[in-house]
């Protein structure tokens, strides 16, 4: 059974496996990905990594632009633009990009947009590497030659449907958007969710597409990674052939944005229209991706809600039976991260009751931190997940994405050793300090998403 490949999965933050790229205690050779990085004359960065496990090659391009770089009134634009990149270019017919790759046997074929970057990737049988480079170079160099308002209009409709799917008709979708916007008030560039608002999606014009392309989609603002079963010298020649002559432009400046601080607790009470059970969400601003505290937050979120023995699950689901599910996460982002806790209530349990319980448990963490055993288990879990991510050469969180991710945020594709060092430094005491400093009750957004009381309970069985 083939899953439908959507042309624009909206990756909210980095794919889980790679975001949790939290390697091993020992400097195991399996964890470092052998690679070579160089730069073309026009500024395009190239990362090559050979992996002969299977006769396939992953081609993966990161453009260093995301929803963070949108202008006011155009939320959702980076992602809408991503859709336009599949619509054809000067030498590639309209709307054949995906189908053409599909029929060659490509897998892991998609594009995703986050706040910090946009990526495009495909894994192809090794004999079709050149085809993938031809396709990717054409849209990098010649997208605007065939852009029409009609193409844009169709994709505006497609993306609005994507928003309806993921926001309007998704349980808690609208509620979560409200929470997000309260965390990042305007004019912060994270204010608009990645998918954007219906009004802003409607407002986009073909001129906007052209301007965005010219500003952000230059080779100097992109990194091409090729991972898999290929000949290095031949591939370097192919990269030069397809990408070397593309227009050169100065690397765009990254906007400077002052960090947000929450001055007081914000409480949102939302009448939930889709979900059937109440949900409590709490969210705090947290240090940016790759800081030490970002690793500390990862460990804490694991100790709180991963597994039956985790603190919140044990207390709320097993012992008190007040909650149906609990999820804590550190969403690691370039400008500022978000630490959140979501608790779905059992039928008949109020979100206020849940809040008292969560607060009591967080107080314990602020007072005593967590145990060395919990930290050790989290580390073992990350080791396994990190290795697991290295099985795929492409796709979400595969090798190419891992190299790209490190390169995007630190400039070093081989940052893995330094990344893992952060997790070695987490202690019960540093978790306690993190909770005291960042998870303060007076600096958070609390969302109560409560469905109307007449939500369907048990359906009637009509025999």
């Amino acid at each position: 059974m083939k899953a439908l490949v959507a042309a624009a999965a909206l990756a909210l933050g980095f794919p889980v496996l790679a975001q949790e790229a939290k390697p091993l205690d020992s400097s195991r050779k399996e964890l470092s990905i052998p690679h070579e990085k160089y730069t073309l004359k026009n500024g395009l960065e190239v990362i090559l990594s050979v992996d002969r496990k299977l006769p396939v090659v992953a081609v993966n391009i990161w453009y260093h632009v995301g929803a963070f770089n949108e202008v006011p009134g155009r939320t959702g634009f980076a992602h809408l633009f991503e859709h336009m990149m599949f619509q054809g270019s000067k030498h590639v017919p309209d709307d054949v990009h995906i189908s053409l790759l599909e029929q060659l046997g490509a897998t892991d074929l998609n594009g995703t947009t986050s706040f910090d970057r946009t990526n495009y990737f495909e894994t192809v049988p090794s004999n079709h590497l050149e085809t993938a480079l031809w396709l990717e170079s054409d849209r990098m160099g010649f997208l605007l030659d065939t852009l029409t308002p009609e193409k844009l209009q169709t994709q505006q409709e497609v993306v609005k449907n994507e928003r309806r799917l993921g926001t309007e008709t998704e349980p808690y979708g609208i509620a979560q958007e409200k929470l997000w916007q309260a965390l990042f008030p305007t004019p912060h560039p994270y204010h608009g969710a990645i998918i954007g608002s219906m009004a802003d999606l409607e407002a986009a014009t073909a001129e906007d597409v052209k301007a965005f392309f010219r500003q952000w989609y230059a080779p100097s603002n992109a990194t091409l990674a090729i991972v898999g079963d290929f000949d290095v010298e031949k591939t370097k020649a192919l990269v030069e052939k397809y990408f070397g002559s593309l227009r050169s432009a100065a690397k765009p400046e990254k906007p400077q944005v002052a960090p947000v601080k929450l001055a007081k607790e914000v409480v949102i009470r939302h009448d939930e229209q889709v979900a059937t059970l109440p949900m409590l969400s709490m969210a705090w601003l947290s240090p940016a991706y790759f800081t030490q505290e970002d690793a500390t937050a990862d460990v804490l979120s694991t100790a709180l809600t991963t597994g039956r023995a985790s603190r919140l699950y044990k207390r709320l689901v097993l012992e008190k039976q007040l909650a149906q599910s609990v999820t804590a996460s550190q969403q690691s982002l370039g400008a500022q991260s978000v630490f959140s806790i979501d608790v779905v209530a059992r039928p008949g349990v109020s979100t206020d009751t849940l809040q008292k319980e969560v607060d009591a448990l967080l107080d314990e963490v602020r007072k005593n931190g967590i145990t060395p055993q919990e930290i050790a288990r989290a580390r073992t879990r990350y080791d396994t997940q990190f290795l697991s991510g290295l099985q795929s050469i492409g796709g979400f969180g595969g090798k190419a994405d891992v190299l790209q991710n490190y390169n995007h945020f630190t400039g070093e594709p081989g940052y893995v050793e330094k990344d893992l060092a952060r997790y070695q430094s987490v202690t019960p005491d540093s978790v306690k300090r993190y909770a005291q400093e960042y998870l303060r009750p007076e600096a958070r957004v609390v969302l109560h998403a409560v469905p109307p009381p007449q939500a369907p309970a048990a359906p009637k069985e009509n025999k």
Partner: protein, 495 residues
């Protein structure tokens, strides 16, 4: 590096001639910084592919212990990572009549305490190995697996053996699990997709068929479940003859068998493989069933009928026809509904060949105000398979795409493990994927067209909608696709 795979017979495939070649678009006058035309002219033609590599297919080895336990192994040596799991051959299709949800709760109970460890102690023991196991229950079977570093395989197997062989089934855990299950069903009722699926399975398989109810069960039936029923399911269906140990990754077959003997060699039990569910009838469509969700901004559309059981001679021909119709992004259905009309974020179709006859389904979530036009397009595309037969280009693209994507689809040990489990549920031989590829290669255009017309006949397709009732009345009523019938969330006909 060791070659891990037996490469399949080299496919004599012509280099891909399936690329649509369009006339080069006219260059608009405003092209920026045009490079001299001649230096970039090489881009006008799609590159010729190099010689295709040998097709590498996943290979599975099989062994059986004296007590009947099946051991399935797929060795992958590159990383110190192993997926170990237990495949149980009974699934929700084996739920006792009137007790939907039994299998799901029975398997979930295994992780609530075993071998003298309570829920928390057991979870922490797994946590020490870096995992939190969960069990996935399907109509045809269930899989309980973990992915661990090679060094943790033995302790992981020791825990899995306890979980499978010595579950506690404590009454207090059962009561809690049952409440969680009931709340989980309530939670799911908020999802339009879940509502559609419930109504769909009932419409396609008919009330009371083993495939007609959701795996999680229904509120009415789950609330009546008792611990003896659940333990009875376990005793009847879980035992060495009905179970497989699945090992994928950094272990050899010999190592896997050795470990299987150590942890499961003295396991006894009378459970046997369950029979396949009966084939459902395929009546013509008389109703259009809908679940009412007033004000819903997208209508969920599901169209389908009983398809095929695994191993049926038409399976690959139907896979090819379904791929052309709605399997790929570039399929007729998706290119029409998403890319030409902008009605949806995606529309697709798939054939789910199970141990018994599984569903053949097309689905989408469409903008509410184009519900009628979108449904019309679904049926137009189905009818078009007859009036616009599948072209050789469409067929060869689907064939090449399906065959050549095999290596990329088997990069992960978890995927290898899940595939091995699926072969076990469906009683398929271990070289099934090699045979699948052979059959995909052999399917003739005439066969694929015959199968497309036979199975994707619009008249036999049931139609289920979840959305705003007034809008459905106004837009779908006039299409004369059947009597509009409101169904409640459990899928039974409403009054």
């Amino acid at each position: 590096m060791r070659r891990l795979f037996v490469s399949a017979s080299l496919l004599a495939l012509a280099s891909c001639a399936s690329t649509p070649v369009a006339a080069p678009p006219a260059t608009p006058p405003a092209a920026e910084a045009p490079a001299p035309q001649d230096s970039e002219s090489f881009r006008a033609k799609m590159p010729e592919p190099a010689k295709p590599p040998d097709l590498v297919l996943p290979t599975f080895e099989q062994a059986q212990l004296d007590n009947g336990l099946t051991v399935l192994v797929a060795t992958r040596r590159q990383l110190p990572l192993v997926s170990v799991g237990i495949a149980f051959s009974a699934g929700s299709a084996q739920d006792p009549a009137g007790a939907a949800g039994t299998a799901d709760i029975a398997y979930k109970m295994l992780l609530e305490g075993a071998g003298g460890k309570d829920t928390i102690t057991l979870d922490n023991a797994f946590g020490d190995l870096g995992v939190s196991p969960s069990v996935g229950v399907t109509p045809d079977g269930a899989f309980l697996g973990v992915q661990v570093l090679t060094g943790n395989v033995q302790p992981a197997l020791a825990l899995l053996a306890d979980v499978v062989r010595k579950p506690t089934f404590a009454p207090k855990d059962f009561e809690r699990r049952k409440k969680q299950q009931l709340a989980d069903i309530v939670r799911r009722l908020g999802s339009p997709g879940f509502l559609a699926q419930q109504a769909y399975l009932k419409a396609v398989f008919g009330e009371g068929h083993p495939y007609a109810h959701p795996t999680v069960g229904t509120p009415a039936e789950v609330s009546q479940l008792t611990l003896p029923t659940v333990q009875g399911f376990y005793r009847k269906h879980v035992g060495p003859k009905a179970t497989a140990l699945v090992v994928a990754g950094d272990l050899s077959k010999d190592q896997a068998v050795e470990l299987a003997k150590k942890y499961f060699g003295d396991w006894k039990g009378t459970a046997v493989l369950p029979p396949a569910p009966p084939a459902p009838s395929v009546p013509p469509r008389e109703q259009v069933r809908y679940v009412s969700k007033p004000g819903l901004e997208q209508t969920t559309v599901m169209v389908g009928r009983p398809g095929l059981a695994a191993g049926h001679p038409d399976e690959e021909a139907l896979e090819l026809a379904t791929t052309v119709f709605g399997g790929f992004f570039g399929s007729r259905l998706n290119m029409n509904l998403r890319e030409a009309k902008g009605y949806t974020y995606g529309a697709g179709a798939s054939s789910d060949a199970r141990l018994g006859v599984g569903p053949l389904t097309a689905q989408s979530a469409v903008r509410a105000n184009v519900t009628g036009p979108a449904v019309t397009e679904f049926f137009r595309e189905l009818a078009d398979l007859r009036s616009r037969p599948i072209t050789s280009q469409e067929l060869e693209s689907a064939r090449e795409g399906l065959i050549r994507s095999f290596p990329g689809n088997f990069e992960r040990v978890s995927g290898l493990g899940a595939s091995a489990a699926s072969l076990f549920y469906k009683r398929l031989p271990m070289d099934e994927f090699t045979r699948t590829v052979e059959r995909l290669e052999k399917a003739t255009p005439a066969e694929v067209q015959r199968v497309a017309e036979a199975y994707l006949d619009p008249a036999a397709m049931q139609l289920i909608l979840v959305g705003d009732p007034d809008l459905i009345q106004t837009q779908v009523g006039p299409l004369h696709l059947g009597t509009l019938t409101k169904v409640d969330v459990a899928g039974a006909a409403g009054k």
